[in-house]
């Protein structure tokens, strides 16, 4: 008897010897595998502003081995920096923050190469756009919009992701700005695709070649449940004019039919078959989100600069339209756990694998054709990449980002959403408005609200700014909840609280790892965290 597991453990295709580095990274390799780790090791992340939240974000990227990092800042370390930033100490006071933070972070991991640069806010403007090309991702902490918006435009055009973080008192904000993010390895719960409703000839031959009645008791208890389902499904269809069980009552009846075949008490395989009836009788279709990706213009109208993702999507689209696919996506080839004897399990496995390979080969040759037609080498997309794409073709993810400009321009802002959310009790949208208001305040006053003796005036001004923002979106008032949030902001005086910055650094780095490795589904596009309520919200703004 055999229980074969669906192996979804991420692993590299090429054999390798376990090195000290693999050992150090063992616990994360189990999340994103060698290809994710390689992407991380090739990445160069730059942090603008050596704040606590920024340093914590980098810490969480340096520890898992991000290839290089650069800290950009123009300030000298003060006592209050030391108080809140773990990567500065008493001896750093009076020295450049960028250098000191880079130095402390470097100590965490020698696999990661750290640098620093001293650039003032006004100098960012004068940078040549090509300056940013060496970075794979930019993290910006609390940079005023007049400086950040132009940077975000440059990065947007260059398709370099920008991750904006803000941490003031108990409040934190995270915004991901990137025009397009595609994910193949989205790590769905399962990639099992059984096709019991539409078996191909080899699978049918295997199942219908089994004569249940003629089997010994032992063999009978080892018929894989997939075969049992196919056999009984055929019986059912023959008796019902060719249609499968579709209603609840019919499915119940179908279960009863399978039960009639049980011979011994040790009929685990029959139990498995009965438990899978619901899934087995579902029609195999192309999930709507995958279909939308296949139909997307970027797949249908390829150009020489089209990314691999869309070329692969186009090949899959062509596959689903080809007669050999029967209108389906490529088979994943993954088999679930089941009770079976080794021989029939391996036989079944090879039937699923050969079919998956056959589909894969079709897609691979189509990919080569497409590449050639675009004037690119036929092998520009590796066979591993085709493999992975086929395997996850049911679970592809594409995010089309919104630019910071769109968010900050009233005519393109998600005004309705924001105003609606503000009406909700205890809405975290009030915190979002608060961050926006604080940004404007800082831009005008060149200081944070609450950093003077007389804070009442600051609170008044901040409220006026908030009203401007809400007003620009079509709102008419700053409600009570927002007013109390603004009051909190004034109380915080623009200062960071270490544990909130640390938490934000965790959330930000987590999303950055997803962006860099192109694995798992990242957040879109704004998160607000409120440390008073310990709650968070995610919106696309």
């Amino acid at each position: 008897m055999q229980k074969a597991g669906e192996t979804d453990v991420p692993r590299s295709a090429t054999p390798h010897v376990v090195s000290a580095r693999d050992r150090k990274y063992d616990r994360q390799l189990r999340l994103w595998a060698a290809n994710g780790q390689a992407a991380l090791e090739e990445a160069h992340v730059v942090l603008l502003t050596a704040s606590a939240a920024g340093a914590e974000t980098l810490k969480n990227l340096v520890l898992p081995g991000t290839g290089s990092f650069t800290v950009v800042d123009d300030k000298l370390t003060t006592e209050e920096d030391v108080d809140v930033n773990f990567f500065l100490d008493e001896s750093s006071i009076g020295h450049p923050r960028a250098a000191k933070v880079a130095e402390f972070l470097q100590e965490l991991n020698t696999d990661s190469v750290g640098r620093f640069e001293s650039l003032t806010l006004s100098e960012f403007d004068k940078l040549d756009p090509s300056y940013w090309e060496k970075y794979s991702l930019v993290v910006a902490h609390q940079i005023r919009p007049s400086v950040l918006l132009p940077i975000s435009k440059v990065l947007w055009d260059k398709k370099i992701p920008l991750v904006i973080i803000n941490s003031i008192g108990f409040y934190a904000r995270l915004r991901i700005v990137t025009p397009e993010h595609t994910v193949v390895e989205s790590h769905p719960e399962s990639t099992v695709d059984l096709r019991l409703d539409c078996p191909w000839p080899e699978l049918e031959r295997f199942a219908f070649g089994i004569e249940l009645d003629g089997l010994s008791e032992m063999d009978h208890a080892h018929v894989p449940y997939l075969a049992l389902l196919l056999i009984y499904l055929k019986q059912w269809k023959d008796a019902h004019g060719g249609s499968p069980p579709s209603t609840y009552a019919e499915k119940k009846e179908f279960k009863a039919l399978i039960k009639t075949g049980v011979r011994s008490s040790d009929a685990e395989n029959f139990d498995e078959a009965i438990n899978t009836v619901w899934r087995a009788t579902q029609a195999t279709t192309i999930p709507s989100n995958s279909q939308a990706i296949l139909n997307d213009d970027r797949a249908q109208n390829l150009s020489p600069s089209t990314s691999k993702f869309w070329i692969l999507a186009r090949a899959i689209s062509d596959f689903t339209k080809s007669p050999s696919s029967g209108g389906h996506l490529p088979l994943s080839g993954t088999l679930p756990d089941m009770k079976a004897d080794t021989t029939s399990y391996i036989k079944l496995q090879s039937i699923y694998r050969s079919k998956a390979l056959e589909d894969r080969d079709w897609v691979a040759s189509r990919v080569s054709e497409l590449l050639l037609s675009l004037g690119r080498p036929a092998d520009a997309i590796s066979s591993d990449e085709v493999d992975t794409f086929c395997k996850f073709s049911r679970n592809l993810v594409v995010f089309d980002g919104r630019s910071l400009e769109e968010e900050y321009t009233p005519s393109t802002a998600r005004a309705k959403k924001i105003l609606q959310e503000l009406e909700e009790e205890n809405s975290l949208m009030s915190v979002y408005v608060g961050f926006r208001a604080v940004e404007v305040f800082e831009e005008r006053e060149k200081r944070y609200p609450g950093t003077v003796e007389e804070v009442d005036e600051d609170e008044k001004v901040l409220k006026e700014i908030a009203l401007e923002i809400v007003g620009s979106l079509g709102g008419t008032e700053v409600n009570e909840r927002t007013a109390s949030v603004l009051k909190e902001f004034v109380r915080y005086g623009g200062g960071e609280l270490h544990n909130i910055s640390s938490l934000l650094g965790g959330i930000a780095a987590q999303e950055i790892v997803k962006l860099i490795t192109r694995q798992y589904v990242p957040m879109t596009n704004t998160t607000i965290f409120d440390g008073i309520q310990s709650s968070s919200a995610v919106w696309e703004l």
């Binding site: 008897m1 055999q2 229980k3 669906e6 979804d8 590299s12 054999p15 010897v17 376990v18 050992r23 150090k24 990274y25 063992d26 616990r27 994360q28 189990r30 999340l31 810490k59 969480n60 898992p64 006592e79 209050e80 108080d83 809140v84 100490d89 965490l108 991991n109 008192g169 008791e217 032992m218 080892h222 011994s264 040790d266 004897d341 080794t342 009790e425 205890n426 975290l428 609450g450 109380r491 915080y492 005086g493 200062g495 609280l497 544990n499 640390s502 938490l503 965790g506 959330i507 987590q510 589904v521 879109t524 965290f529 440390g531 008073i532 309520q533 310990s534 709650s535 968070s536 995610v538």
Partner: protein
Amino acid sequence: MSRDTYAKQILGDAYENIKNAKILMVGAGGIGCELLKNLVLAGFGEVHLVDLDTIDLSNLNRQFLFGHEHIKKSKALVAKETASKFNPEVNLVAYHANIKDPQFSVSWFKSFDLVMNALDNLDTRRYVNRMCLTANVPMIDSGTTGYNGQMRVVVKGVTECYECNPIETPKSFPVCTIRTTPSQPIHCIVWAKSYLFNQLFGIDEDEATAPELDNTETADNAEELKNLRTENEELKKVKDAFGTLEFPKLVFEKVFKIDIDRLLSLADAWRTRRPPVPLDYSAVKTAADEAGLDSQKKVTMLAADDQPIWNLVENFAVFADSISRLSNRLVELQQEAGSQSKKPILVFDKDDDDTLDFVTAAANLRSIVFGIETKSKFEIKQMSGNIIPAIATTNAIVAGLCVTQAFKILNNDLEHAKMVYISQPPARMLSAGTLPPANVHCGVCGIARAAISVDPEKLTLGDFLEKVLKSKLGYSEEVSIVTSKLLYDIEFDDNLEKTFVELGVSDGSFITIMDEEEPEDGSPGRVNLEFIVLAKGDKNGDAEGDAYVLDQIPEIPKKPKAEKEPASEDEGMIVASAAPKRKADEISGDDTNLNKKSKTDGNGDSATIVIDDEDGAFLID
């Protein structure tokens, strides 16, 4: 501005409480490093940290208070050393010790304002939960696994305790499945790790304690268990050849030939199962030699690649080689130990290649014998080592949340304390919910607790019953006294003459007293009373010179009434249930299911007995 200007400004009045707070942090691993950094920078006055563990290379991708130079050193001591540099004003006290050690008594727990758990296993969590309940100290528990995590506050009598809801225990397998009728790779891995490895290199009678083995004897399996004992006896004889060149061969023949032949003789077992196929040592050995796997160097190279699935001869070669490596190590240890009474043993460690090679090869050979799928070393590492993916980011998030809750507890703002789950976008990142009230029927926090100091060699169960339970606490003889087994009830008084030591009750044991008397007026009896037993250091007993000291007479409330069906007599009235539904608006704006368990990622087998790694986690079932 001075150093703590922002902290004062942001935290307001709470800041003073934080500065004066005394915190106990249990565990200095993944979450522990983050937590300690946060506590130090937030300016908590005094932090004690306890961790038994030492630093391993695989910790360094997230446990940032440690560097390469600290490998094999104490986590607690190194964490203290590194963190204290960043705020010399915080008083840090580190213990490289087990939190269950007697030095960490109930009164010691009582000296803290708050206990923060950054633990990696269920057993210790339960223990700390009980200690906090006994000492009446609030606790914050946290855990992470991969990208997911959770955090919650536990306050005695107010919130759910760690055990108010049944916790899924790690899956255990009937001993016969493991020893006689394996059907999945995991069965063979458990066999290799929990049985064979321990028999050869560890403690002999481990089956009794290995949590993965359930060896309850029933009428059905008596025969099998008898057979297994024969097997054990034979294996002990094989062990006489320990350290000799013959040893790997003898072990191989014993477990893959002789034992299998014996199993085959149990014809009944193979009526509906594929019978196992024994392996022939000389045939496999010849094949291995022919395959060129004849030198240790070649085998080492083979074993170094953990990705491919080894075939029969490869498994054979690694099996023989790893046995030699392990035997040599044990022999060396024994020579070093000399005539010390405690015999050195080897312990399985997923990060120790010698032990992992052995378990991989032995498990796969057994799989081959039983016609079960074999696995790669990489996969077996995960399945045998209870490995949970662990990264810095999730730990940072959880630790940050823990500190926000600590602020609330120290500010006596329990009303706003939360439990928070970290989940995956796109839905949301954190789901916060109010803390469910204590379950009045909980067998852990819904009971009375007390500590008793005893001289376990002197105090008999009879004295305990008469002098403590009856005269001091007012019980009748209608009680049950229970540890992991029944010690006494009204119909079972065999143990009354025995001392605590003889009954296996020692320092740190828990004894539960159940009131079995049914008052004539039909009123409910008293709730259970759980004693934690402390072995007395000094001998000044009670006035009578008794072998016990009971500091405080505990209050033992009546049992809550059994819940009634809100049908007949209370028509129209809603009887308060033990766990009222959370108000929708208290769960921050989303319909996330707060009690959801982490999901497996379709790994089938591998997730079954996972407990957790350095970062503490919930169970995956």
